[in-house]
Symmetry: C2
Subunit: 167 residues, 2 copies
């Protein structure tokens, strides 16, 4: 996996496409994913949002500067008003690239970067609904444990699970 950590203007559409195509996110959730990219494009790391984009290592080299569309990405950053806590805001793997361990690698990279920045804990939140069992299993496989569960947080019958991992 090759990584690109600086968002490019083209990533706005790439993130919108990838997040939409997973079928997991509502349009208003996709909008939030896109907004975080736009925030970084406008303010850099002052936005508080950090990224790693996985790009195709097999792509032939060229002398022309070309946009490398990502196969997946992770967005994370220090939790405001905390010392040592980080949030994993988004992790998306393109439908065509799922099942190859790319998600776990992106997760690992985000944790590594957080550690470098003084992170001691990474938090990630997801829905407790049955539809999200694969997501829940993914976090458990990545070493996360349930720190809290808030009943009916997202909607009636849709709990929030807060996962936590010590870095």
């Amino acid at each position: 996996m090759h990584l690109r950590s600086t968002p490019l203007p083209e990533d706005v559409q790439a993130v919108r496409r990838m997040a939409t195509e997973t079928g997991f996110f509502r349009p208003d959730e996709v909008d939030v994913a896109v907004e975080l990219v736009e925030e970084h494009l406008a303010k850099g790391t002052d936005s508080g949002y950090y990224f790693h984009f996985a790009v195709d290592p097999e792509r032939p080299e060229t002398h022309e500067p070309v946009y490398d569309p990502p196969l997946g990405y992770v967005c994370f950053g220090p939790t405001p008003c905390t010392i040592g806590s980080f949030d994993l805001y988004w992790i998306v793997v393109d439908k065509a690239s799922q099942g190859n361990g790319l998600g776990l690698q992106l997760m690992h990279q985000a944790e590594q970067s957080a550690r470098t920045m003084g992170g001691r804990r990474m938090y990630v939140e997801t829905s407790g609904k049955e539809l999200y069992r694969p997501t829940q299993r993914f976090y458990e496989k990545a070493g996360y444990s349930v720190a809290a569960r808030l009943p009916d947080f997202y909607d009636l019958g849709d709990d929030k699970i807060i996962y936590q991992k010590n870095l």
Copy 2:
């Protein structure tokens, strides 16, 4: 208590002063409180931040439009990507006006407004440290119960308590 629900440019400094003078918040936390007022001034309710400012009902009426400095304020809003959840972001009562039940009245107003906007639950977060026992007791008196506790969230030895109230 009289309420003003539209932030004015003068509130930026008033909020900075009140939050600082309580002695409860670090400078970076005060900055966040101020930013939420600025966000509303820039974007209105599109910011997602709603306010009630308590103003002095005893103040003599005048024909001149004058700025009424608040005695306290509450900032709240719908939790993004949820249906029916609200966050109470800030509640501050000016040092000189504390102990008169103003905080509970502001709390009640925020809950009432959230209910009007379809809110079913209000969440508020605070530190688990001993210093925050008065804050914790305040939320408990206002009908909030502990939904979760995240160890070392704010810093080593500084847990986050998430309080919740059904509206």
